[in-house]
């Protein structure tokens, strides 16, 4: 066994960025400089100043407040969407690994089917069928997280079933479900956490993409993607309006990816005991 590693410098940077974004989102629950939905047309497109630290948009809404609330929306959508993926995908993966046979085949072929379609395209289809809105965006993004987590959970669980301590548990007469919950799940948690971080970044990007296309959050709800969309026509006039939400998305996704990288180095058992896993997992 390798000694427990510490989080890398990049990982810490990622964690710091993620913390800032989450903190901003939390602060926006209780305080924003202005109400982000209140229009003040007389002050539209005003530059950064004392009243509006990051200026205002074409309706005179405060950009900083919008960015803060946008962080909250992005995080809320992504948490629920990834939660949906974990909540349904992990049990499916555990089930497939525990039962094998036709259940495994059914779950995995369903996964293959889901992967055969580009995720964003299908998300567009889902929102087109169910109507645009934050809830449907969550559904669309969440749906595509299910096979991801099912596959990762199954892949991580399979080699464990051949390990002596699991076989011992089976000899002791414990059921497959019990073993999955008591022994498999804790041992694959690290892998899942890493995957969740990555999926979280992807979900934020997907939410921004759907909102940008007008399929996610609807006005007057605020989101980074909508801000980008609305700013598009003002690129020549007020590039700030596009650059700020763009930067917010880039930084958040970058931060989460760095954090995910760091956590993987730290948590993923396959990296710690790489040789053995590879041989057993074959």
């Amino acid at each position: 066994m390798a000694s427990p590693r510490r989080l890398s410098a990049a990982g810490w940077i990622g964690a710091a960025i993620a913390a800032v974004v989450i903190l901003t989102a939390l602060v926006s629950l209780v305080w924003t400089p202005h109400d982000p939905t209140v229009m003040d047309v007389a002050n539209k497109l005003s530059g950064p100043g004392a009243a509006h630290p990051l200026g205002t948009d074409h309706f005179g809404r405060d950009t900083l407040s919008q960015l803060m609330v946008g962080a909250r929306v992005s995080i809320a959508v992504s948490v629920v969407a990834v939660g949906l993926g974990v909540g349904l995908g992990v049990p499916l993966g555990l089930l497939a690994a525990a039962r094998r046979g036709w259940i495994d085949e059914a779950v995995m072929r369903f996964n293959d089917l889901a992967f055969a379609f580009p995720a964003l395209l299908t998300a567009v289809l889902i929102t087109a069928l169910l109507g645009p809105g934050a809830i449907n965006a969550i559904l669309a993004i969440g749906l595509f997280n299910i096979p991801v987590f099912a596959r990762v959970a199954r892949g991580a669980a399979l080699p464990l079933w051949k390990r002596p301590f699991i076989q011992a548990a089976r000899l002791a007469g414990r059921g497959r479900t019990r073993i999955s919950l008591d022994h498999i799940l804790p041992n694959i948690a690290g892998t899942l956490i890493v995957q969740a971080t990555i999926q979280f970044a992807l979900a934020i990007l997907a939410e921004a993409g759907l909102s940008y296309l007008g399929l996610g959050s609807q006005p007057p709800e605020v989101s980074w993607g909508r801000m980008l969309n609305e700013a598009q026509t003002f690129l020549f006039l007020e590039p700030r309006l596009a650059v700020l939400p763009g930067l917010a998305i880039v930084l958040t996704v970058l931060g989460l990816n760095l954090l995910g990288d760091g956590l993987r180095d730290r948590l993923d058992p396959r990296l710690e005991t790489g040789l053995e896993t590879r041989r057993e997992g074959g």
Binding site: M39, A119, A201, L205, P220, P239
Partner: protein, 510 residues
């Protein structure tokens, strides 16, 4: 961007996409390239947002058809000029009998269709009979409703008998729906339009452009342009980059009002804000309680802040209206003072109708144009301020036509009614907003048979006042025509009395 478990590539892809999102903003924000002339000085490229479904103006309601072919490819007996006045076209002159029932048109001689056949009174009889026939697919059959009989006295004299006097008859004949077509080509005009105009049809690359070429056989003065191209660019947001790069050369109606600020300060472009016939309204569905209650409609009218709306959604371009009537028309009466922006009055009216704050929750269907999407966002905020919750539902045009216009399944919607003098839509049975007032219907009925201009103006004023008193809809603003073109171009229309891009008098000046 796949949400896949293949972790490294996916993560790289995610970071890349995110970076591109940001970088796009930065790149596009850099100063625009110097525009290269898109075409030599006898060719013009015009930008349009919507592509016509086909090219026969006598068989479709889409304004985009007229925007390509009206006065360019097809001409009528009369035409509507840039100032909205009726002018002679294929009919050189005409006389009207004293009872207003018989029109004698003297047709221009030596006119040929683009396929070489001559235009005679027989073609005119064919065109008018075809348009008003039982099985006609003309989108504006109402224009011909007064016609009792059409006959050719000789090759160049046409007699039209009406069943009742109609004040707007000559104006009606100037519409794109009333253009002259030939029996030989009428069936194929949808894909290969054959008219008598200064330009003949060249090619139609679907999804991209329609090309016209100067006709050598035109009866009038030959146009300065040898070629004209209409380019269809459905994304309004690409229009600014397009015009800055010189392709297209002109937008008769620039779809991105926010770009005008940039263009106005640029000497390479002319920005001309004119008027259109587009009354932009907040349509209210009278079939849906409580919108059948005049107090609720008045409350909504009081809640709307027109100046802020025009400033925020239209960047200051647009004239407030108080009824369904174009402010530039002589018979217009200013009723914008009837419901000034007054949230307290709105709340009081709602309370009177038994609705407290938060009791009323309405949907608002918004078609794609920015006046509707941006305007809708602002109106939702303004109604929220008087305690009405609004759920915004963005829809595409096809869905709007299906659900709102035909299906009557909506509470509120925003749309511009762009047909000229279309106040009579409020007298139609079963029109989409479901307005019904017998007094108003009577005024329109009288108007139909009134020929005297003063009496007509008085009736128009009365009709406007009734609509305003009933708060039939939320009357917002007259849609501006936001023309943008290369400053070296002249002869494009400043106003838009009909949906048309008449290129006859357009030329490059250097």
């Amino acid at each position: 961007m796949p949400l896949s478990p293949v972790r490294r590539p996916a993560r790289a892809g995610a970071a890349l996409t995110a970076a591109v999102l940001g970088a796009l903003a930065l790149v596009a924000a850099q100063s625009a390239p110097t525009p290269a002339r898109a075409a030599p000085p006898d060719a013009l490229v015009m930008g349009m947002v919507l592509e016509p479904p086909h090219l026969d103006p006598t068989a479709g309601a889409a304004g985009a058809i007229d925007e390509v072919v009206y006065a360019n490819v097809f001409e009528g007996l009369t035409r509507i000029g840039p100032d909205g006045a009726v002018r002679p076209a294929l009919a050189e002159r005409w006389t009207v009998s004293d009872d207003g029932l018989t029109y004698t048109f003297h047709l221009r001689q030596g006119v040929t269709f683009h396929d070489g056949t001559a235009f005679t009174a027989a073609d005119a009889v064919f065109s008018l009979d075809r348009a008003r026939a039982e099985d006609s697919v003309n989108a504006q059959k109402g224009l011909f409703e007064a016609i009792a009989a059409v006959e050719a006295r000789d090759d160049h004299t046409l007699i039209v008998r009406l069943s009742h006097p109609q004040g707007r008859f000559l104006f009606n004949l100037g519409w794109g729906d009333a253009v002259m077509v030939a029996p030989e080509s009428a069936g194929t005009n949808t894909v290969n339009p054959i008219g008598t105009g200064p330009f003949r049809f060249g090619a139609w690359v679907q999804g991209d452009r329609v090309e016209l070429a100067r006709s050598d056989t035109y009866w009038g003065e030959a146009p300065a342009l040898a070629r004209a191209t209409f380019r269809f660019m459905p994304d309004p947001q690409a229009s600014l980059a397009g015009i800055l790069s010189g392709n297209p050369d002109a937008y008769a109606n620039f779809p991105a009002p926010e770009g005008l600020v940039t263009l106005e300060s640029d000497p390479r472009f002319s920005v001309v804000i004119g008027s259109t016939e587009g009354e932009t309204i907040l349509a209210m569905n009278h079939r849906r309680p409580p919108l059948d209650d005049v107090r609720v409609r008045r409350a909504i009218s009081h809640a709307i802040d027109r100046p802020a709306l025009i400033d925020g959604a239209m960047f200051g371009n647009g004239t407030p209206i108080g009824s369904h009537f174009a402010p530039h028309h002589p018979a217009h009466v200013d009723l914008t003072g009837m419901y000034p922006h007054d949230p307290d009055a709105a709340k009081a009216l709602l309370a009177e109708a038994g609705l407290g704050p938060g009791d009323l929750s309405l949907t608002l269907h918004l078609p794609p144009p920015s006046y509707a999407r941006r305007g809708g966002e602002m109106i939702a905020a303004q109604l929220k301020a008087v305690g009405i919750d609004v759920e915004i539902i963005p829809v595409e045009w096809a869905q709007w036509l299906e659900q709102v216009f035909r299906g009557h399944d909506f509470n509120l919607s925003i749309v511009a009614h762009t047909e000229p003098l279309d106040i009579d839509i409020y007298a139609r049975d079963d029109y989409y907003f479901g307005y019904d007032n017998p007094d108003f219907d009577a005024v329109i009925e009288t108007l139909e048979t009134t020929v005297d201009p003063d009496a007509r103006a008085a009736l128009y004023r009365k009709a406007q006042t009734i609509l305003a008193e009933d708060a039939a809809n939320g009357f917002l603003f007259q849609l501006p025509k936001q023309g943008v073109w290369d400053a070296r171009l002249e002869g494009l229309w400043h106003d838009s009395p009909v949906q048309a891009n008449d290129l006859t008098g357009v030329r490059w000046t250097d």
